[in-house]
Amino acid sequence: MKKFLIQLSLFLTIVIALNYIYIFYIDNLPQNAKSSKNAIFIWGDSQTCQGLNLKMMKELTGKYIYSSAKHGAGIYDFLVFADKVPENSTVLVAISKPVQLRKLNKDRNLSGTSLFSLIQLYENNYSSSDIYSIFQKNLIPINFYEVSTKLNPCKDSLNYKSQILIYKNIFSQIPYYLNDKQNLYLEGIKKLKNKKCKINFIEFPLHPMAIELLNNSEVRDATNQLNTKILALFNNSTLDTIPIDNSTNIMSDFSHLNKCGANQITRLLIAKLNNNLNTTLYVTKFDPK
């Protein structure tokens, strides 16, 4: 037994030591920037991952692009992001409607341990078991920022049959946690504001059929109110529209753009960002032309 315990302790010590070296390494990777100089920090979920061409953004802005947009990203991820972003940074945030509506346990919530964010969740009616499961899965260090993402290929058509059912279900009713989630997003935004960040928001497009489903549901107003609340947080905020050309298919499914769409929106967004000093919420809309 003695030999077993010694060997096991030795092995675990080595593993823990290497783990810390790995954390140190991750924290010091070039993409895990600690400086706000000449950089744009992005947060969003899969819509953002598929909706922005990060390499193109870097070329067009001449700035470093650090994206912590992840598939299924949730409120915990946003709170950690708000906590980690350096002061005085330029930030682009996309809080989509599916992000607001997604079930609590379906949120990715995988951004490393942050006590501040866990406390925020606790103060906003997250159950202790939910918080515990988030704490548990965040014990392992992860790479926080990405500098490139893989975009969905451009396709002529979209098979939408199964998507209709999914989105009917998503938009079927206002979830009980919507208000708490929205409040938490507002808390995160306030934190960014207190850090004196220059914040811009973007709402990526949904497929016209998904928009139709949304417009016929009570979820529309409930999710739209977040935009109003966000803009109310800032003195000189504006709402702007990015018209998008839909003459070729730019969607890969009901809520995600394909590469053609991502390139188009990246170009249009950067043109707007370069000429804008105010906090702005950019809403992408299909150009009726």
Binding site: F4, F11, I14, L18
Partner: protein
């Protein structure tokens, strides 16, 4: 409590320390600790169903003692059937009630009669199929006088509820496990190290292989109409590895954990995807369930003795029952039926007992015929898993229909290169270790500590770096 959770990472060392340091000198106390730990482990999920395990334990414990005292054949039979009816009754109610009700209603509606009976909102108790079969094996063995019943209730309760294998097996026979609760257990360094090694490999299978494959298998199966044929083939292959990684990973962790406490459980998976025909596959896949059905159903029915008709009947019966054991859905029955279809030609040609040794024993590479045997068996298996994974039979047939369309010859729309590389590396390790009880066991042979530890640390790194999103073990639902 999940094996791949922080709860278990705390629970296991605490129980280990109590077991070997505090209760070391008393076998009774050690067994009592196992019962308490097992009930805690199970109650972590839902404490209400502990009463069900306790009830099942009490019934079979009492019937075991009564069987020993009773010599009258008729009365012994009544006792045996009481146990079978109670155990299968509970299983039937919790697992199959709604299935039978729905099908009963559907059958009547075919004749124009409409029956209005509401189905019940029944929660399936985790692991009920596993511990029910384990306790049944005890009663049947006592009835057949292969085993002396125990008079010690704690021993029996520990046997039924032994936490490493309580919720997803391996389904242990009383003849193997119960005697281990009856004799003093000594801590053995080699056994404990081996246990840890097997736990590590089980975690790799579960977290790296199964959880990663699950992401893509779920995405493809849930939206199969959106993808081309080649992507659906990939989806079926991902599910093939998901279910193997998930279930055999669980078994490895269960066996490894048992070894830490001085127990030896039977091997449950013996590298089934390296099988050269379906007969071999079924000797290597979920061994504890296959042998259970063989010993308690197939052989009592006459096995492969008798005429061709009887052989075919028994084979279909055992495979269909095995499919139905997995869940109350026609998809599982179809999966069992399909495997019976695969198996019967081998049985009739007397080739079902070939390939007893592991493939390419003592060699690096298989022969060409072995390789093609493995490839075709794997193909058949992947095809059968489509039924197992689909929501219903209609979805399964539509899925297959899309596979066998022109789009089969197009490039897959999903190509997760990292997971494919991980699967490839996984298969290499499994291949190298295929003659052992579990793949990683090969590392204890012919390698010094530095290489061994470096390799284990690399595996831990892979778990940390490439682990998929935590998913429940698939077999919990069975």
């Amino acid at each position: 409590m999940l094996f791949n959770s922080i709860d278990f990472a705390i629970f296991l060392p605490v129980i280990f320390i109590l077991y070997w340091f505090v209760f070391k000198r008393s076998l009774k106390l050690q067994n009592a600790l196992i019962v308490i730990a097992s009930y805690l482990f199970y109650g972590w999920w839902d404490y209400r169903f502990l009463s069900l395990i306790l009830f099942s334990t009490l019934i079979d414990y009492s019937i075991g003692i009564l069987l020993q005292k009773q010599e009258d054949k008729r009365k012994r039979k009544i006792l045996l059937w009481s146990s079978i009816l109670v155990n299968l009754g509970l299983l039937g109610f919790f697992k199959y009630y709604n299935f039978f009700l729905d099908n009963f209603i559907s059958a009547f509606s075919l004749f124009g009669s409409e029956i209005k009976v509401g189905s019940l909102n029944i929660i399936l108790p985790v692991g009920i199929s596993f511990y029910t079969f384990q306790t049944l094996s005890y009663t049947i063995d006592v009835y057949k006088k292969k085993l002396q019943p125990t008079k010690n209730f704690i021993e029996f309760a520990a046997f039924v509820s032994f936490f490493p294998q309580l919720v997803a097996g391996p389904i242990e026979r009383a003849t193997n496990l119960l005697p281990q609760f009856q004799k003093e257990r000594k801590f053995k360094y080699e056994q404990a190290i081996d246990g840890l090694r097997q736990i590590l490999w089980g975690l790799v299978k579960k977290i790296v292989i199964a959880d990663n494959c699950a992401i893509f298998a779920n995405r493809i199966f849930d939206n199969y109409t959106d993808f081309n044929g080649s992507t659906l083939v990939l989806g079926a292959i991902f599910f093939t590895f998901q279910i193997y990684g998930d279930f055999s990973g669980y078994s490895d962790i269960a066996i490894g954990t048992s070894r830490l406490f001085g127990f030896k459980l039977k091997q449950n998976f013996a590298f089934p995807y390296f099988s050269r025909n379906v007969g071999e596959f079924w000797r290597r896949w979920h061994i504890s369930l296959s042998t259970w059905f063989r010993d308690y159903l197939y052989i009592p029915l006459g096995g492969s003795n008798g005429g061709i008709g009887k052989k075919i009947r028994n084979t279909f019966l055992i495979f269909i029952v095995s499919g139905f054991w997995h869940g109350a859905n026609w998809t599982f029955i179809a999966w069992g039926f399909l495997n019976a279809l695969y198996f019967i030609p081998l049985l009739l040609l007397n080739r079902n007992r070939t390939h007893v040794d592991s493939v390419a024993k003592g060699k690096y590479f298989p022969s060409i015929s072995d390789f093609f045997g493995m490839l075709t068996t794997f193909g058949f298996t992947v095809f059968a898993w489509i039924f197992f994974r689909s929501e219903n039979l209609s979805d399964a047939f539509k899925y297959i229909n899309i596979i066998f369309s022109k789009s089969l010859f197009t490039i897959p729309e999903i190509r997760p290169s990292i997971i494919i590389i991980l699967l490839f590396l996984f298969l290499i390790i499994e291949w190298v270790g295929r003659e052992q009880q579990y793949a990683l066991e090969f590392t204890k042979i012919k390698s010094n500590r530095f290489i061994r530890w470096s390799f284990y640390i690399l595996l831990i790194f892979i778990i940390v770096k490439f682990g998929g999103i935590q998913q429940d073990f698939i077999y919990f639902q069975f």
